[in-house]
Amino acid sequence: MALLLGLILGYAAIKFKVKGNPLIDQIDAILPQTQCGQCDYPGCRPYAEAIANGEAQINQCPPGGQDGVDALAELLNVETMTINDEHGETKPKRVAVVDESVCIGCTLCIQACPVDAFVGASKVMTTVIADECTGCDLCIPVCPVDCIDMVELKPTLRNFVPDIGELANAY
């Protein structure tokens, strides 16, 4: 009997072995995937790994904002903390826009972009796939002619969310 149960347990251990570290995935799911590196790690996943290993604090992600810190604290069951503004300020969502008349086609932005949101080639004009841009700012410092602007995303008819702040008062 014991042998049988032992075999079942042994089989289950191999069959249902969890690949990778599920905690890292859970942390990574909360992080905003901006891939901006402001947390001092080269991307969101490396930062998630650092948090899971206890090497980094949970308050180093400016794009995630205070909400992100709180969500991480809840996941990890630790005291929440205020966001560390040494890593940068929390800004509204933005996308990069290239002034195509100024662009010289140096491709430096293409190399800097962590999510391949730039389209272009050497010595021809470059442009941004707005839908893929995470607004990480990494292309700004490398541009030799300063032709990239970060433009705030405005709400549209499609993604507009009404405000419920006033609903609780009078109707």
Partner: protein, 503 residues
Amino acid sequence: MPTKSYNGGIVVPNLYRVESVGIITVSLPNKVVLPLNERVTDKAVPCVSVGERVLTGQVIATNKDYDSVPIHATISGQVTAIDDQLIAHKSGLKTRCITIQSDGKDEWIEQQDTIDNYLNLAPSVLINKIRQAGIVGMGGAGFPAHLKLGLLGLSNLCKTIIVNGTECEPGIMCDDALMQNYPEKIISGVEVMLHISGAERAIIAIENDKIDAHNALLQYISDERISTELIPTKYTSGSEKLLIKALLNKEIPSGGFAIDEGIVCQNVSTVSAIYDAVVDGKPLVSRIVTVTGSGVSSPDNYDVRLGSYFEHIVSLAKPSNEKHSIRMGGMMMGTDVATMSVPISKICNCIFVNNVAPKYDVKECIRCGSCNQVCPVDLLPQQLYWYSKSENTEKASDYNLLDCIECGCCSYVCPSHIPLVDYFSFAKALHRKNIEDKRRTDAARERFEYREFRLERNNKERTEMMEAKKKAIKEKMANEKGQKDKIAAAMDRVNKNKEDNAQ
């Protein structure tokens, strides 16, 4: 025997009754403003430029997408601007519009050939005509009419056509007016739809408080496939799925469509517009709009060009001198708008002008459960309220938030005056936004990870290539060395021979 009803719903008294329902044709507006996106999902591209003269009925913006319809000039005159303007939308956001200044002539484009007998034309031809005429559902949803019929041109899916003349929201009477004044157009329009779809029957559904409209329609029905049905006067009967439940006792499941059951539903105004498009070759440039509410002394219906400002017709209904609140659509499902300087759209069936009244204080929920009883789609508004208020959209969608038709019955009966339906429309919008955000972050994660993988792979390939090259050169060098040796040996032999010969 069908029950002719459904669970829930409420009876709302109509405070603004009129003695006879007429239609006043309004003078031409000085200018019209026509938004490029009739529905939030589509964006038409202008095919006229500023300064150009356009004729009534001319296409001024086109959509490549088959799902959307072209936009027509509704008056003749000059295009004065293509820019962002306020429209009647709860967000108060501006959207791209074409403005036309009237020349007062109302000169039409050359009419397409009027068709003597549409029966000779294939359904696909007629469906295309309907699309080109820019017809969308005029009951409020604005769903393109050709799409509902488009599927039918290819197959015989449709067994039953339901023509929605219920007009269940109290106060609105534009469909009533249409049925009473142009019954022949509606019946002919239904015949056109029967021809297109090959359906077995068409049912015209009317609430039993509109007997005059019912009688007017009956006079023109000669086709035995067409019948009328009087249903009890109860609010939200006009909602497609509920109307199907009431008439045929069939329930369309969550996420399902009427066509799954072989049913196509169209509003009477849409049917009349289909008649104009198919038989007269006229695009949709005007509609009937009800102006009513506590702020006007003579509620009435106005036949007005699309794109006219609200104030153009509100001024005709003798508004009071008090401060007004303006609402597009009915008192239950309408949208509050901040100003009367917004254009009338294809879906604008009514303008409510109310004197500003003191607002109710919102109290706490007392868990009375009234909202649960009136919800016509059998949801639990009280439960949804907690989740919506706490922005827990995941839990709210577990309770089928997305099936909420935003009819407002729950808000209407709530003794604590909680604006429940506003919470639900907020939660739905938030839910959509969360899904979109998640899609974007997932895409960013995937692209980042793929980039890392690609860079690593490129690095590896590079080092491998370099190593292979080094190896090849070394081998070549080694071979070259062997070659030199051979040459040297050959030279040695030659020299040796020479020496031997010399000796």
